[in-house]
């Protein structure tokens, strides 16, 4: 059978979601942000909730999310997305409100906003892309940077003594009673991406059921900040990030695993 016989509209089984715009993603080649964006929009699309979904994208490589996701989005100040989302969810209790945050954003400058939105159990979804670094600003150390890992502000490797341990924000917020669902995923292989998509869907379902806060961490590469090729970075991630940030559900239906 000829390839051209296969490539016909009626045979199409996968294409970019219509909830993604035509704009070229501003991400570096192979960056997990792109996959995470697409999975999120695919979920919103499949759930048929795009008219009632409001995104909040603070500063980080994904600051331009509004250029890519074809839904209503508010761009928030660095670290403050959970506060912004809190207000939207409180004044529009029937909407699906999600934040899309990096690890510098969520676990450094935004620590207080994260902890308190979680503690209040706001009815929102937090998608937390943990790439262990400040991607956007050129690869500085993040709270999540691994021990010994090099970054532009830990050029000789992160040293626990002076810089502290990599922060497991996800485990931390899982302890808070207001948080209903906490999971850690990745998107670098088809298997992981499919699981991550399920997790994102579950999170949005929780919003629909008004269950409170759902927290989806996505461990992702910043190949550019890590100074590796995308595929190298994914392998490095499996070997180094996953042992410290193990994948899987941490809290389901309000119960710690």
């Amino acid at each position: 059978m000829n390839v051209l016989d296969i490539i016909k509209p009626e045979n199409q089984v996968f294409c970019k979601s219509k909830l993604m715009t035509d704009a070229t993603l501003s991400y570096c080649p192979g960056c997990g942000h792109g996959t995470a964006h697409n999975l999120t929009m695919e979920v919103v699309d499949e759930m048929g909730i795009s008219e009632n979904t409001i995104g909040v994208a603070p500063v980080g490589c994904s600051v331009l999310a509004y250029d890519f996701m074809n839904i209503d989005i508010t761009q928030a100040a660095h670290g403050r997305a959970p506060a912004v989302a809190t207000a939207i969810a409180r004044t529009w209790p029937e909407k699906y409100v999600f934040t899309y945050q990096g690890d510098g954003d969520l676990a450094a400058i935004g620590t207080a906003e994260t902890i308190h939105a979680c503690n209040r159990g706001e009815n929102i979804v937090i998608i937390f892309v943990n790439n262990g670094i400040y991607g956007m600003t050129g690869g500085q150390m993040a709270p999540t940077t691994l021990e010994g890992m090099r970054s532009s502000t830990s050029p000789y490797g992160r040293e626990i003594k002076s810089m502290g341990s990599p922060l497991k924000m996800t485990e931390l917020v899982a302890n808070l009673p207001g948080v209903y669902y906490v999971t850690r995923q990745s998107v670098h292989t088809h298997k992981h991406a499919r699981k991550a998509k399920k997790a994102i869907k579950k999170a949005f379902e929780n919003t629909r059921l008004k269950k409170g806060l759902s927290f989806v961490e996505i461990v992702s590469n910043c190949n550019s900040g890590w100074k590796m090729t995308p595929n190298e970075s994914n392998i490095w991630m499996e070997e180094n990030m996953f042992p410290y940030f193990p994948l899987g559900d941490i809290k389901v239906n309000g119960i710690l695993k």
């Binding site: 839904i71 508010t74 403050r80 809190t86 939207i88 529009w92 207080a112 308190h116």
Partner: protein
Amino acid sequence: MSELKLMKGNEALAEAAIRAGVDAYFGYPITPQSEVIEYLMTERPEQRTGMVVLQAESEIAAINMVYGAASTGKKVMTSSSSPGISLKLEGISYLAGAELPAVIVNVVRGGPGLGTIQPSQADYFQSVKGGGHGDYKLYVLAPASVQEMSDFVENAFDIAFKYRAPVLILSDGLIGQMMEKVNLKGQQKRLTDEEVIKRHDSWAVTGKTNRERNIITSLDLQSEKMEARVRRLMKKYEQMEKEDLRYEEFQTEDAEYLFVAYGSSARIAQKAVQLARAKGIKAGLLRPITLFPYPKKVLFDLADQVKGILSVELNAGQMVEDVRLSVEHKVPVEHFGRTGGIIHTPEEVLEALEQKIIN
């Protein structure tokens, strides 16, 4: 249907917010304005009108909550006092940059730093020049009575939505803490979600329906776009100067000397006018009600009539610069002010006029 009450300025403001149909208030306690959130929490506005009131974890969270609700077209406000307002400045700059309507209240106390909890007007510069970063301005209303604490809430929202811009109510510990009579307006209906969507569908982030998606952002990576944004803001500010300037004159018709004072200082200066007149000194008072836009033209014109002007402020000399810029050096302009929470007396003010201007 209006109602006469004895209330603190802070309480009157809070009650006015409920009655103006405000959708949400987010705040963090700080003296001398904690009564705002305390009053709101006690009044259960979620039952009275459906208004959301939330004590945030910090001033920064509060202003970003305001940013969030404002980006959906809701009527939303916050209040704080000096150090808390400093913390909100990034957020305020974002509100201005993203062109969002919102009302911020500063019940000023003496600074810098932790300062005192006594009244002050030392945040004038912060309010009308650059508080936060970048080229933006706030429309600034300065109430001088409990009645105005109440009335200005609705006025502030009208301006905020007219221009899609943040508005500041610049009060102080005196106006916020004192009780006076206040005539409360009747309850306005809060807009339904459908009405909000209908009214603000051209820009507000409420969920993308059959329209292009709406985006709220203050970011423009391209300089040309950013410059266009700044120009758009400057246009608004020019329009405010033309259409929404507010001020009050007191015995200026025949005045030979002029006090310029706003907020609580204006109350004292008004008394000083009376004392002066009693002494045969023809004094008058110009009270800017909006600090931006500033009554430049009025002052410029009054400068042709008076022999000298005293800017009376509870600070070390801030508004006096705007007075000088307005007067264009036609007559002497001096400053008199007490700081650190001390309220000047009318006698002191008159004495300052006599010493700095008349002699």
